[in-house]
Symmetry: C2
């Protein structure tokens, strides 16, 4: 099937989904959860084939782990589907309105986008997570995963389509682009007639490619070069604890700390403490010249490119700053505008940092690791937006809808 | 000055604007209004030169009128600036938040986008309208008007910059791209490092060019191929009145009716009435074969391209449909998703139309001409979005902001 045909089918199914009652969507979601639990064999078989191919291609062990599905993981995915069933349907909510002086009644009501395109990398659970969030919010989805996971994705999508079809839904609400060539991705990015919004999920390269080439409106997600600024007035023990958590609890995710900025007046006290704490995970420290004077052999020199790099690894860039203003300027210049934190006990500095740092999530005295739909109380999340249009930060179901104005009159003319 | 330099200056000024108090922004806006009234001479002189050039280039009389500034019009523009002063500042509003179980306090607060780029066509009042809405909402703007109005725009921007500078603001909050070559427009569309959102305002060609070429997030505005569906059950007198208004009150604007769809069971009664009413403005009727059977010499044949064309003129496309479902399908296929209306006295059909027509504004028994920021009670408007991301329909000040999450902790780790 070519992309135009996929697009036409998605659009048709979106028209049906837009007016579907929550109960029917929820029954379809429960059917997906059940079917995933009852059909683990074909998925595990497909996944084993993906993994064999990946090993042959020399995929790294951590990446192979991201690709791996087990019976337990599939049950976990099914459980996550049931969790989404329990969330509130965002469709139909009245967001505003009133009666104009001429009697025209205006209602601003949430409606699905229509068709959401998703371009993502290897983890096959993303296939189910995204399809389910789209369905719950009344959107059809076109999924385009990576080549590495294509067999797993085909198996998962087949199970989901069968399940919703048995519940009376049009299976085209969930479609997978099975051809994972560059061409299909490029074509999706220009499918304006059929795709309302495109959400890329993956590494910086994928995101940049989509932003550069898509004519479909994009929600940019994910890349996180997160900063951790230790102010002159910081409680240094607290700072060391939080830094340790932000850097080492899960270094591969986008809300992990990547850079440490330290005020010059506490650098001599803090840097050795921090280095000591991070040694437990053998974190590589890449430091500016002034920090190297303090850390000595515990670090290696940072280069200019370090300041803009998201390591996603046990690596930390370190820079000493002369004042909070320098920290804010550095962050606004190099941050990916995802999550940045200050550790301080100074009221004015906490306010200045929150007002001036131009990022989706700005923290005072807490770990950047909290930037997550679940932690923010949004329920499940489809990604973390690092752009300012439409949605910023973690995106839940309420960010997967648009709205329309309904105007009810009795002959009003202008 | 090249665009990178303009972008850097805009970004710097945006940082200052983001934390500026409403009172200071309002004082700057009042200074702009006063300066526009006190400096009409240089603007009118520049405008006369633009008009002379336009006449020499053979610009049509209606377009020349759009370009024309008079003392009265300038005072009207100044009055519109004062109106914006009276509107509520959207910056800083708390849009949500709470305290998480671990004690982390989350506040979702409205913040300016930062830098807004505007690419627009000839009317010079747009220069002031947009600059003022951006300033009120704490955004710096980069304005790129058309070649036809460049002298007028330079004069207007100079006055505005001088006025806000005297009030202590950085004049780079308002910048004009004086070089109106295609290259500068193309460069703006790829200025992702400095422009947060790009809003094109103008004809379908301009909008399409920006959507196709911009890597900066775009809010698509304006084009309106608006439909008017007369249901079987319609009050035909009301239908004729509303159609007359929707088509002829201002045919050049985007919320004017462009297409008439009529249910077959009332076509024979309604079409002659409608033709009679529209004859007062010599509206050209382009009809499908079945409608031609009824209208005879009062119409000419419609071609396939008529269904997707926005005439912006005294022209109306007419098609007879067999059922409301056919009308909805036709609208969803050919509409620009701006504004579409049904005239009906049937409850179920009114609901079906509102639920199924995928447009920013869906009307029952009223003229599509109401799709406008002022008419919707939004105050001044920067454009009418025909996309679903971020804002749909008329966009006022509240649509010129994004938000950020502030997270205040006391050592929380995850």
């Amino acid at each position: 099937m070519n992309l135009t045909e996929i697009g036409e089918r998605a659009k048709k199914s979106a028209t049906q989904l837009a007016v579907m009652l929550s109960g029917q969507k929820d029954r379809a979601l429960l059917a997906i959860a059940k079917a995933l639990e009852e059909n683990t064999a074909p998925v595990l078989e497909a996944n084993a084939a993906d993994l064999a191919q990946a090993a042959e291609n020399g995929m790294s062990v951590p990446l192979q782990d991201r690709l791996l599905l087990t019976k337990e993981r599939l049950f976990g995915i099914a459980e996550a589907v049931r969790y989404v069933v329990g969330l509130e349907d965002p469709v139909g909510q009245v967001l505003g309105g009133g009666i104009r002086p001429n009697g025209l009644k205006i209602t601003k009501r949430a409606v699905p986008f229509g068709v959401i395109g998703l371009i993502y990398e290897s983890r096959p659970n993303v296939t189910v997570d995204c399809a389910v969030l789209c369905l719950k919010s009344g959107n059809a989805c076109i999924l385009r995963g990576s080549k590495d996971a294509v067999r797993s994705n085909i198996a998962l999508v087949r199970i989901m389509r069968d399940a919703i079809e048995k519940e009376g839904l049009n299976p085209d609400a969930i479609q997978l682009v099975e051809d994972t060539s560059r061409e299909t991705a490029a074509e999706m990015m220009r499918l304006n007639s059929f795709i309302d919004v495109l959400i890329p999920r993956g590494g910086a390269g994928l995101i940049a490619t989509v932003v550069q080439n898509s004519t479909v409106p994009v929600i940019e997600t994910g890349s996180g070069n997160c900063h951790f600024y230790v102010d002159e007035s910081a409680d240094l023990d607290m700072a060391a604890d939080i830094l340790h958590n932000a850097k080492t609890s899960r270094p591969g995710v986008c809300n992990a700390a990547e850079k440490l900025l330290v005020h010059k007046n506490c650098a001599r006290a803090f840097l050795p403490m921090a280095a000591e704490r991070l040694r437990t995970h053998n974190v590589e420290l890449r430091a500016c010249p002034r920090a190297r004077d303090i850390l000595g052999d515990a670090c290696i020199p940072a280069t200019d490119s370090d300041w803009s790099t998201e390591y996603e690894d046990y690596i930390l860039g370190i820079k000493i700053v002369n004042a909070i203003g320098e920290a804010i300027e550095h962050i606004n210049r190099y941050s990916t505008h995802h999550s940045d934190a200050i550790i301080t006990s100074d009221y004015a500095n906490s306010r200045l940092f929150c007002d001036s740092v131009d990022s989706a999530a700005v923290y005072v005295n807490a770990s950047t690791r909290f930037t997550d739909g679940g932690e923010f109380g949004l329920g499940a999340e489809i990604g973390i937006s690092t752009q300012k249009l439409h949605a910023r930060g973690p995106m839940g179901l309420t960010h997967l809808v648009s709205y329309k104005y309904i105007l009810e009159g009795s002959g009003q003319i202008r």
